[in-house]
Amino acid sequence: MTLLLIYIALLATIWALTAWLSTRIRSRDGMAARKTVTFGDESAIRPSRVASVASVAVVFLIWAAFTGSSWTFIHAPADWQMRPIWLPPPENVWFRLLDIAANGYRNFTLWEHLSISIWRVFTGFFFGALIGIPLGFAMGLNSFLRGWFDPIVEFMRPVPPLALIPLVIIWYGIDEKAKIILLFLAALWIMAIAARSGVAGVKLSKVHAAYSLGASKWQLLRHVIMPNALPDIFTGARVAMGVCWGTVVAAELVAAEKGAGFTIMVASRFMQTDIVLMGIILIGVIGYSIDVAMRMLERWLVPWKGRG
């Protein structure tokens, strides 16, 4: 409660400070500054860089101040300090990261733990896309197949992949195959639905144009329907990647002998809170990086997205 109040107080102070500074310094720059109506004009809202940097700084500051960190001069009163077993100071997490990066954890290097998780995600996603995209295309192009697969896809879509973990463990045990299959199932429906809506989204006039230019069915599929569906498929791929990453961590919490999720699960059993925190931060960073990479790939591969 106190923490929340402190957080809000800091937010308000920095906000007021930047607002005051910006009226003084940047009183005349850019189009946005010339707009008199900005409240309600979404296009005039840009995430303030200053605010983003300050936000991250504030989180670390509070974290450091309440854990007796040697990285800050500001400290909370002694009886408010957290014990390291609940929340270790940031430097502990940082040095633990260096330690594990150098010496590994539980028989595997840090890189092995992280890369196995990433590998699982990519393999599961790959097979999910490999089956899901053609499935979605089939559903978008043929009434019978649409009718046949619709109930399955619509049923599986709202089932969270985590709910499948017990079944997958019963059927396939806890080895590598089981996790890949789980992630495959997580990606499959998302990719099928994305591909289906990509096909459904093709403008009839484009299809008509292609046919009257002499395209065959196969050529229409290859040169019109597939590229037209790419933006939707990419959106689906981003969602699927996010879901897969969340699912792999959860699956490793349940059963694994290495991986990002495994690391924090074992660490928590031994009350190694610094390792748990390190793991959570790494998981967040990797998940975010995957999304950024997908977005860059998207901009490079489908520059026409939203320009039809």
């Binding site: 008509h208 046919y211 009257s212 230019l213």
Partner: protein, 268 residues
């Protein structure tokens, strides 16, 4: 001779709720090779339906279409389409769009390149081949659409309000371009429009359609298209005969719309 024959074509749509719409009723029309026919009519009178049947996208519920001796049963390269907008492939460059037809037909690369180059020249887009279509203005996109259609060397070009989405100035320029291309290539063109002026300027023949059921209401032979070629279209518009015709047709369409409104408002 590849004349286009529309023989007693009817189209009745059945709606899911059991009722039916007579979109076209007993339309007969012969269009000679090389003719430019414009089709005018209030919205909902079946113009698009007729064009879709001509292209082969719809099978009429009665009658048939013949191009030369062959009956139209589906879309093919003999009848090209130019849509109002949004029918270009935005994942392809301008040149790739224009060369689409010949590429699908497996023509040799050099031949395609030469043809694309020539067509970009004719539509006034030389040097734009490598641009993405979404970088072009609406008028330029329609130039690409025209070039893409011509690249296939179709017998007939079907246009469904091709200039409808353009601003007045661009539209005027494009009307000149359509006339120029028509003269250069000698193609048969069926042009749907809801602008009376455009219909008069471009059509050698003008078909006015009426709704419910969609049918041919009146037909004119016009001298303006022939005179408009290579000339300032504004000069043509200033001719006294042009003004007379325009007023005549405008009031005809007025009456039709009044009648539709009257029907819609009449108590049941």
């Amino acid at each position: 001779m590849a004349d286009l024959k529309i023989e007693a074509v009817s189209m009745t749509f059945s709606l899911p709720n059991g009722s039916t719409i007579e979109a076209l009723k007993d339309i007969s029309l012969e269009i000679a090779q090389g003719e430019l026919v414009s089709v005018l009519g209030p919205s909902g009178c079946g113009k698009t339906t007729l064009l879709n049947i001509l292209a082969g996208f719809l099978a009429p519920t009665g009658g048939q279409i013949r191009l030369g001796k062959t009956e139209v049963t589906g879309p093919d390269r003999a009848r090209g389409m130019v849509f109002q907008q949004g029918a270009l492939f935005e994942w392809m460059s301008v040149a790739k769009n224009v060369g689409f037809g010949p590429r699908m037909a497996g023509r040799p690369r050099a031949e395609i390149d030469a043809r694309v180059e020539g067509l970009l020249q004719s539509v006034g887009l030389q040097g734009f081949g490598d641009k993405a279509v979404y970088e072009l203005s609406g008028g330029m996109q329609q130039r690409v659409a025209l070039a893409r259609c011509l690249a296939n060397d179709p017998d007939v070009i079907l246009m469904d309000e091709p200039l409808g989405a353009l601003d007045a100035l661009t539209r005027e320029k494009m009307q000149g371009l359509v006339l120029k291309l028509w003269k250069e290539t000698g193609k048969t063109i069926v042009l749907i429009t809801h602008s009376v002026e455009e219909a008069l300027l471009l059509g050698e023949r003008l078909i006015v359609m009426a709704p419910r059921p969609g049918r041919i209401h009146a037909e004119y032979r016009l001298p303006f298209a022939a005179r408009g070629v290579g000339e300032d279209l504004r000069m043509v518009k200033r001719l006294p005969e042009f003004g007379e015709r325009r007023d005549e047709i405008l009031s005809m369409i007025w009456e039709m719309e009044e009648e539709i409104m009257g029907k819609a408002e009449a108590p049941v």
